[in-house]
C-alpha cells in the first residue's frame, strides 16, 4: 500500500534512469510473489534496475509444493499479486479453477512461442489449449552411484546397473552390515533421494491418468506390481522401513541432504540438482546414468519445477507479462546465473574448497536460455557433468513425464494418496494391492469432484 502511494505521488520529472529515452511515466508498482532466497531476490533487483518505470515489490510466496493457501485465498478474495511463481505439480488443478490469467494473447503478440519451451513443461502450463503461465525451470531424476563404493566391492565403476535385477544384485553387494545393523545401504528406493513411487511406476510403464484426465489409473496392475517389487526389495535388501527412515533422518539433521551425500548410500535415485551439491563435496566420487529398467519396462523419469503466472486480478497486466517474459527467458536466466555463480564462488572461498568454483545451473525450460546456460557455464565443467547435462536434455526432449500432466486436476490428493499407499505397504500394514486400490478410490473421488466443478462452469 505504501509503495502504491509513493508511486502515485512520484514526481513526473524524469529521474536519473539508465534507459533515459522516454520520459518517465507514472511509476507502476508490480506486486510479485516470489522465492525469497538471495538468488531470486537478486533477480528482482536486476529487473528493477533495468526497468526504471516499474517498482517491483517482492513478497515471499510461502509453501507452494503442498498447495498454495496464500495465493488461492488472495485470488479468491479478488486481490493477490500481479505475478507469482507456482509449482507445476498443481498447475492444472489451479488453472482449471481460474486461479491464473490466460496469457495466450500476450504470448501471441510477443516474440516467444510455445515451441521455444521444453515440450513437457509448456504442456503442463497449458489448460484447454490456452497457456496459463511460462515455465521457468525444471528437473530430471537419474541414478547416481558412488564409484569408490563400486570399486571397493569389485564392480566396474563405469557400469551402473541397467535392469532391476542388476539393481538388486548390486545393492546386495554394496550393503555393508555390522551384525544386524546396516552401516551402509546399497540402494533405498522411494524413501531416500527424490524418486517417490512415480519414478518406479513410470519405469514399469504404469499409467497414472487417462488422456482426458478424468480417470485415475492407480489401480492398474503395473502400479500394484511396482509396489510389490518395492516391498520385496525392502524385505530382501533394505530392511525395516522405520529403521531406514530413522537412519536417513539422523543424516539429514546434520545438514547433509541425503545418506548418499554422506557416503552412507552407494546408489541414489534423485534429481539433477544433486550434481550442484555433490560438486561441493569433492570427497564423494560419483557418476550418473538413467535409472535401471525392469523387464518389459521402459526408460523413463519425471520432472517438476516452477512456472511464472499472472494473477487474474492484476491491474498491471502488461507489466506483469513483461516481468514473466523477462524471468522465463535469457535476461532473467543471465541474472539468475550471475547471482548463483557469485553464491558458488563465495561458498568455495568460505569452505576453502580446492580448485575452481563449479556452478551447475538449473535446467531452464526456455530453450534458448537452456542453450545459453550450456554454452556459457556447463561447457566449463568436467566431462562427467557435461555428460549428465546432455542426459538431462535428452530426457526433457524424449523420456520424461511431467508431474503436473500426470496428476491431473486433483494433483494434491494424488500426491498425498500415492505417498500414503507406498508408505503403508512398505510398513507392511496393507498389501500393495489394497494400498493402490485405496489410492485409486480416494483420488478418483477428488478428481470427480474437481471435474463436476469444471463441467458446471462450461
Amino acid at each position: 500500500m505504501a509503495g502504491a502511494l509513493v508511486a502515485a505521488c512520484a514526481p513526473a520529472v524524469p529521474g536519473p534512469a539508465s534507459g533515459g529515452a522516454a520520459p518517465a511515466a507514472e511509476k507502476v508498482t508490480l506486486n510479485v510473489w516470489w522465492f525469497e532466497d538471495p538468488i531470486h531476490t537478486a533477480m528482482i533487483k536486476t529487473y528493477s534496475d533495468s526497468h526504471p518505470t516499474v517498482d517491483v515489490n517482492p513478497t515471499a510466496i510461502g509453501d507452494i509444493v503442498f498447495g498454495d493457501q496464500k495465493y488461492l485465498t488472495a485470488v479468491a478474495g479478488g486481490t493477490g499479486p500481479d505475478a507469482a511463481v507456482q509449482n507445476r505439480h498443481t498447475f492444472l488443478q489451479f488453472a482449471a479453477k481460474n486461479l491464473y490469467q490466460d496469457v495466450t494473447p500476450w504470448m501471441d503478440s510477443s516474440g516467444i512461442a510455445r515451441k521455444d519451451f521444453t515440450p513437457v513443461q509448456i504442456e503442463e502450463s497449458t489448460w484447454d489449449g490456452k497457456v496459463y503461465g511460462l515455465p521457468m525451470f525444471t528437473d530430471v531424476r537419474y541414478l547416481f552411484w558412488n564409484t569408490e563404493h563400486f570399486e571397493e566391492v569389485g564392480l566396474d565403476p563405469t557400469k551402473p546397473p541397467t535392469t532391476w535385477d542388476e539393481l538388486a544384485s548390486y545393492t546386495d553387494l554394496l550393503n555393508v552390515k555390522n551384525g544386524d545393523e546396516m552401516e551402509r545401504y546399497g540402494f533405498v528406493p522411494y524413501l531416500w533421494g527424490n524418486s517417490w513411487m512415480w519414478l518406479y511406476g513410470f519405469l514399469n510403464r504404469a499409467p497414472a491418468i487417462s488422456a482426458d484426465k478424468r480417470t485415475i489409473l492407480a489401480d492398474d496392475p503395473a502400479w500394484v506390481a511396482t509396489l510389490e517389487w518395492m516391498v520385496d526389495f525392502y524385505q530382501k535388501y533394505v530392511g525395516d522401513f522405520e529403521t531406514t527412515n530413522a537412519f536417513s533422518q539422523s543424516i539429514t539433521s546434520t545438514g547433509l541432504a541425503d545418506p548418499f551425500h554422506a557416503g552412507k548410500a552407494s546408489m541414489s535415485a534423485t534429481g539433477d540438482w544433486v550434481v550442484g551439491d555433490l560438486l561441493r563435496i569433492p570427497d564423494i566420487q560419483w557418476d550418473a546414468a538413467p535409472m535401471p529398467v525392469p523387464n518389459g519396462g521402459t526408460q523413463a523419469t519425471w520432472s517438476c519445477g516452477y512456472s511464472v503466472v499472472m494473477a487474474a486480478a492484476s491491474q498491471h497486466r502488461d507489466e506483469a507479462w513483461d516481468f514473466m517474459q523477462w524471468a522465463a527467458t535469457e535476461p532473467g536466466w543471465e541474472a539468475k546465473a550471475a547471482a548463483t555463480l557469485a553464491d558458488v564462488e563465495a561458498y568455495w572461498t568460505r569452505e576453502q574448497i580446492e580448485g575452481e568454483p563449479q556452478y551447475w545451473p538449473q535446467q531452464a525450460c526456455y530453450l534458448p536460455a537452456l542453450t545459453m546456460l550450456q554454452e556459457k557455464y556447463v561447457s566449463k565443467l568436467g566431462e562427467r557433468e557435461q555428460r549428465t547435462w546432455a542426459m538431462g536434455i535428452d530426457a526433457l526432449e524424449n523420456w520424461t513425464h511431467g508431474c503436473g500432466t500426470e496428476m491431473g486436476v486433483a494433483a494434491l490428493e494424488y500426491w498425498v494418496e500415492m505417498d500414503n499407499a507406498a508408505r503403508s505397504a512398505l510398513a507392511l500394514k496393507v498389501s500393495p494391492e489394497e494400498a493402490m486400490m485405496t489410492c485409486k478410490t480416494k483420488v478418483q473421488e477428488a478428481t470427480d469432484r474437481a471435474w463436476a466443478a469444471i463441467d458446471s462452469k462450461t
Binding site: Q69, T73, A246
Partner: protein
C-alpha cells in the same frame, strides 16, 4: 440515593444507571464489533458452509448432510480423532501432575525462588514453532540430547518422531515441557490458601501428608477443575507444534495426524472448505459434550468454599 429520586423524572439515558450503561456499551463496542465480524460471523458462516461443497473459487453448492455422511466413512477422521484423544488422555493429566508438583516445589521458602519460577515458566512463553524446532534437535534419534541421556543409563533411545510408536509420546513430552502456564495458575492457587487452615491442622496434630491431602488438595480442586477443562479444550485443538515437527504431514504413517491438522489439510491443501467446516463443527460438539460432562460431575469432587459455608 439522589439518583433514584432524580430518575423518576429524567429519561433513562440521563439517569446514572443509563449513562453508565451507555458508557459500558461504548467502551466494549470495539470488542463486540470485532467479535461479531471476526468470530461470531465466521462461526455461523462455517455452520452454513458445512452443508455445502465449497472450493473458494466457485460459489458454495448445497449438498445437504453429505459432508457429515462422508466424515462418518472417512478412515482418516477416525485415525486423526484417535491420535488426538491419545494425546489428550496422556498429555492433559501428566501435564497437570507435573505442573502441580512443580507448583508445590516452587511454593517453598528458599532463596533464588524467583529465579526458579522464571526458569520453569520460560518454556511456556517460547512460541510453539520455536519450541518445535528445538525439540526436533533434542529428539533426533542418533545425536539428540534425549537419547544421549537415555543411553547414559544404558537405555536404548527410540526413533521418536521417525517412529510410528514413539511419535505420539514425543508430542506428549513436548506438551508437558510447556506446562508452565498451568504451573503459574496452581502457584497462585496455592498461595491463596489461608495459612490459618494449616495452623489449625497442625494444632489438630496433622502431619505434612495430612495437610496436603486434607487442606491443600481440597482447596485446590476448583483450580484443578479449571485447568482440566481448559487443558482438554486446548489439547483437542493441538496443531502448530505437530505441524512444524512433521512438515505438515502428520507422519510417520499418519501417527501424528491430529484432528485439526486433518481439518487444515482438507481446507487449505485440498480446498474442501465445506468438509473442513463440517469437521470443525463435529469437533465443537465433541468438546461441548466433554465440557458439559465435566461440569456435570464437577460437584462430586470440586470443593467451593462459598457453597460449603451454606451447608
Amino acid at each position: 440515593m439522589t439518583a433514584s429520586t432524580y430518575s423518576k423524572s429524567a429519561p433513562w439515558y440521563q439517569t446514572l444507571r443509563g449513562r453508565e450503561a451507555i458508557s459500558f456499551y461504548l467502551f466494549i463496542l470495539p470488542w463486540i464489533i470485532g467479535f461479531i465480524v471476526f468470530t461470531l460471523g465466521p462461526i455461523i458462516a462455517s455452520l452454513g458452509l458445512s452443508f455445502t461443497d465449497y472450493d473458494i473459487m466457485l460459489p458454495p453448492a448445497f449438498v445437504g448432510v453429505d459432508n457429515y455422511r462422508e466424515m462418518a466413512a472417512d478412515p482418516l477422521v477416525y485415525t486423526s480423532l484417535y491420535n488426538t484423544v491419545y494425546i489428550v488422555i496422556f498429555a492433559v493429566p501428566l501435564g497437570m501432575i507435573t505442573a502441580f508438583g512443580l507448583a508445590l516445589l516452587l511454593n517453598q521458602k528458599v532463596s533464588f525462588m524467583a529465579g526458579y519460577r522464571t526458569a520453569y515458566f520460560i518454556p511456556s512463553i517460547v512460541p510453539a514453532v520455536a519450541s518445535a524446532a528445538l525439540w526436533l534437535y533434542l529428539l533426533q534419534p542418533q545425536w539428540g540430547l534425549v537419547n544421549a541421556f537415555l543411553e547414559s543409563f544404558g537405555l536404548p533411545g527410540p526413533g521418536w518422531l521417525s517412529s510410528e510408536v514413539w511419535s505420539k509420546p514425543a508430542i506428549i513430552l513436548i506438551l508437558i515441557w510447556g506446562t508452565g502456564g498451568t504451573m503459574i495458575i496452581y502457584l497462585a492457587g496455592l498461595q491463596d490458601i489461608p495459612l490459618s487452615l494449616y495452623e489449625a491442622a497442625e494444632i489438630d496434630g496433622a502431619n505434612d501428608w495430612n495437610k496436603f491431602w486434607r487442606v491443600t488438595l481440597p482447596l485446590m480442586t476448583p483450580v484443578i477443575f479449571f485447568t482440566l477443562v481448559l487443558g482438554i479444550i486446548g489439547t483437542f485443538q493441538i496443531f502448530a507444534q505437530i505441524f512444524v515437527l512433521t512438515d505438515g504431514m502428520g507422519g510417520p504413517q499418519n501417527s501424528t495426524l491430529v484432528y485439526v491438522m486433518y481439518l487444515y489439510r482438507n481446507a487449505f491443501n485440498f480446498f474442501r472448505m465445506g468438509y473442513a467446516s463440517a469437521m470443525a463443527w463435529i469437533l465443537f460438539v465433541l468438546i461441548l459434550i466433554l465440557t458439559w460432562v465435566q461440569f456435570r460431575f464437577a460437584s462430586r469432587w470440586v470443593y467451593y468454599e462459598s457453597e460449603s459455608a451454606d451447608s
